[in-house]
């Protein structure tokens, strides 16, 4: 099966990139995430699966402190990125988000040109020396997002004028251009058609060579196709976390098996 080969592809010993332990998230009085421990490896695709409302997106947003923008949200526990606590007072969430990039469910290109969309991160963080350097960054980001050939002749056209799949790849290019260490993807293919989905999945597999990728998905086939590690969330709990091949063929927890076989969720 496909996922078995992807397990074999997986390089054995990996550095731990993100280590979360005892993470609790509250939205006001609602206890959204209950005591989650996860270790996310470098240069690996980790998939979060689970039924709607199980907290997988909430947990993903904890990893780059995007939940800080929600007033009623409270996060407890420790999340270490390269052994540094990202919720420490010394850490600037803005700096953190430059290191932990994010791609959202709905493609959200800015109402600017394609070039300016990709150059947005580098400009904000001063990642280039001169115009030629910026041009190179933009080109290589677009190439890595597999969209360069489609847009190279119209870099000054607005990003909002692209098709849905192109927009999502543009957003991935935009995230890649900032040179993050971890790329978080929140259901990146849910608004895309099967062809665009296949392109983005292929892209995710390539991104793995440079980054640690965490992807939230509703599609178990997608999780099986693109990830090496899978975490199954249910009702705010992390039920099971392990090699993708194992989760899908031989799950330890009966709830995981029920979800994968379609009985819950």
């Amino acid at each position: 099966m496909n996922q078995m080969t992807s397990v074999e592809k997986n390089v054995n010993t990996q550095d731990i990139k993100i280590s979360a332990s005892g993470v609790q998230v509250y939205y006001g009085d609602t206890h959204a995430i209950k005591d989650v421990d996860v270790e996310i490896e470098d240069k690996t695709v980790t998939a979060f699966i689970g039924p709607s409302g199980c907290g997988k997106s909430t947990f993903l947003r904890c990893l780059n402190r995007m939940n800080d923008t929600i007033d009623v949200c409270r996060v407890e526990g420790t999340i270490l990125l390269d052994n540094e606590d990202i919720y420490d007072r010394k850490v600037d969430p803005v700096q953190l988000r430059a290191k932990v990039g994010m791609v959202f469910q709905k493609p959200n290109p800015f109402p600017k040109s394609i070039y300016d969309n990709v150059a947005y991160g580098p400009r904000i963080h001063g990642l280039f020396k001169n115009k030629a350097d910026l041009d190179n960054i933009v080109e290589s980001a677009l190439r890595r997002a597999a969209i360069w050939n489609e847009v190279k002749d119209r870099l000054n056209a607005p990003g909002t004028g692209l098709s849905g799949g192109q927009q999502q790849r543009l957003c991935i290019a935009r995230a890649v251009a900032t040179e993050p260490e971890v790329l978080l993807m929140d259901e990146p293919c849910s608004a895309l058609d099967p062809i665009a989905t296949a392109q983005v999945e292929e892209l995710i597999d390539e991104l793995r060579t440079n980054y640690s990728v965490v992807i939230v998905t509703h599609s178990m086939q997608q999780a099986a196709r693109v990830s090496q590690k899978t975490a199954f969330f249910h009702l705010g709990n992390l039920v099971e976390f392990g090699e993708t091949g194992q989760i899908f063929t031989n799950p330890e927890d009966p709830r995981t098996e029920s979800y994968i076989t379609g009985r819950i969720g």
């Binding site: 959202f104 959200n108 800015f110 109402p111 947005y120 904000i124 957003c171």
Partner: protein, 492 residues
């Protein structure tokens, strides 16, 4: 019969129709509502409306048309010879009306009988004295022609009113009878009433539009009268505004337009940054608690009547500015640049304050309509809040904000009370904001208030000014709405 009684009778008829119609519907259904096509109330409304609406409509039209028609026919009775030098037909006609009304009053107060009035002649009695004794003062003695016209006026309006009463009552009763006989359990009363309601809504909408057209047309005609008396080249291209009543006025819009635009510019200079920054703070940074207090407070500013702003300009801001820029050695800056409290700066600053809530609440709506996904995208790339506002939200909201500013500008151009009290009355071209200047709106006020002769260009110029102002603000509004709408489509 007085119109009020007629009206009350129609209303009573229609109320009776409601009850009767409902009862008949019940009866035709054999007392079971489920056998009716519509609820019984609809049958009642159908009868009531059929009785009421046509009768009222005819009444309204008749009341408007009758005086005009009578006026026309009576006016022909007056020969050109008796119209005095310097007077005109409409003045004589107003005399006729006064005499006619006076005679009515004399009859109703019992001073004369109807027959006496009809037999009245200028040879036998002093009508001016008679009418004066019952409280109707006339400016001059009544000539035989005027008396004849007044008598004809009276008899014609008497007949007219009588015919109107009969027609209206017949219509009401006829409508009632028609709808009542049609009331049957299979009659689709609900659909008919719905159509009636639809008609009512259409009339309301078209009245609003027709009124606008009427206003524009009336201004247009007066403006054409003005341009018949005054060269349009002077109005549009002349350089001075100095109306006098000797007949050689310079009436050019340009100095007024300059004052208007200058004051509006200063107002926008005050309102746009403050309003925009307030909107950005309220929509992007403020916590819910702050927003729930600050937004209503800001909107209180919008509810203050402009005359109060005018007082504020005259009594507070003006003297304060004089204290800073004037008074020589006693002033704050020790300069003598400003002498009076009224100035372009005074009016501009106060008008700017008035526009702050306007700009801020419009911009707030526009900023809020920028999708959250844009903010998330930017924050997710490691941008700070202010970078997000500056580089993503502002560019996305810019067309809408430009629209809001244009709407504010058209408010500023049309604003009257603040400039009347704060800007002064001198029409001139000057760049000095500490001098007093005047605007189009203040000149319209001053040309039309007080003793005015509606045939002189000095008065009629107000309509030309008004029309120009209207065209100016209409253009700005259309441009603003076009920009705002185009922007809205982008995210839907």
């Amino acid at each position: 019969m007085p119109v009020l009684w007629l009206f009350l009778i129609i209303v009573a008829l229609s109320a009776f129709g409601f009850i009767a119609g409902r009862a008949r519907a019940y009866q035709s259904a054999g007392g079971d509502v489920r056998n009716l096509h519509s609820l019984p109330g609809y049958y009642g409304y159908n009868v009531a409306l059929t009785a009421l609406v046509p009768a009222l409509a005819v009444l309204a039209v008749w009341l408007l048309a009758q005086p005009m028609l009578i006026e026309n026919s009576v006016s022909k009775m007056i020969p050109d010879e008796i119209i005095a030098e310097g007077s005109n037909r409409s003045l004589v006609m107003s005399d006729v009306r006064r005499v006619a009304n006076g005679l009515d009053l004399a009859v109703s107060s019992g001073a004369m009988t109807n027959d006496e009035v009809n037999a009245l002649s200028t040879d036998t009695s002093d009508i001016r004295a008679t009418l004066g004794s019952i409280g109707v003062a006339l400016g001059s003695d009544v000539s035989p022609e005027v008396l004849a016209a007044a008598q004809s006026y009276r008899s014609k309006s008497y007949t007219g009113t009588l015919v109107m009463t009969v027609v209206v009552l017949l219509l009401a009763i006829g409508g009632l009878a028609l709808a009542y006989t049609r009331t049957h359990k299979d009659f689709r009363a609900r659909n008919v009433v719905e159509r009636g309601v639809l008609g009512l809504l259409i009339i309301a909408a078209s009245l609003a539009i027709l009124t606008t057209i009427g206003i524009v047309l009336s201004m247009l005609f007066e403006t054409m009268n003005f341009f018949r008396l005054h060269p349009w080249t002077d109005f549009f291209f002349g350089g001075t505004w100095s109306p006098n009543f000797r007949g050689d006025s310079d009436l050019s819009i340009l100095p007024l337009l300059w004052g208007t635009l200058y004051i509006s510019f200063i107002a926008l200079l005050v309102a746009v940054p403050i309003g925009l920054f307030a909107a950005i703070y309220l929509s992007e940074y403020a916590s819910n608690a702050v927003r729930s207090i600050a937004k209503p407070l800001l909107e209180i500013l919008a509810g203050i009547p402009t005359i109060v702003y005018g007082l504020f300009a005259l009594l507070t801001v003006g003297p304060m500015l004089v204290n800073v820029f004037g008074r020589g050695d006693q002033g704050l800056l020790g300069v003598e640049w400003m002498s009076g409290a009224t100035s372009v700066l005074t009016a501009g600053v106060v008008m700017g304050i008035m526009l702050i809530p306007f700009v801020s609440s419009l911009s707030d709506d526009i900023i809020n309509s920028v999708p959250q996904a844009m903010r998330d995208g930017s924050l997710g790339l490691g941008a700070t809040k202010s970078e997000t506002v500056r580089q993503v939200i502002m560019p996305a909201a810019l067309p809408g904000i430009v629209g809001a500013i244009l709407l504010a500008a058209s408010r500023a151009i049309g604003e009257t009370m603040i400039v009347v009290m704060g800007a002064g009355a001198i029409a001139k071209f000057s760049l000095n904001p500490l001098e007093s200047m005047t605007t189009i709106t203040t000149r319209i006020v001053s040309q039309l208030t007080g003793d005015t002769d509606f045939a002189s260009p000095e008065t009629l110029v107000a309509f030309a000014l008004g029309l120009t102002l209207f065209v100016l603000t209409l253009g700005l509004n259309i441009l603003a709405l076009y920009i705002v709408r185009k922007y809205r489509e982008q995210y839907e």
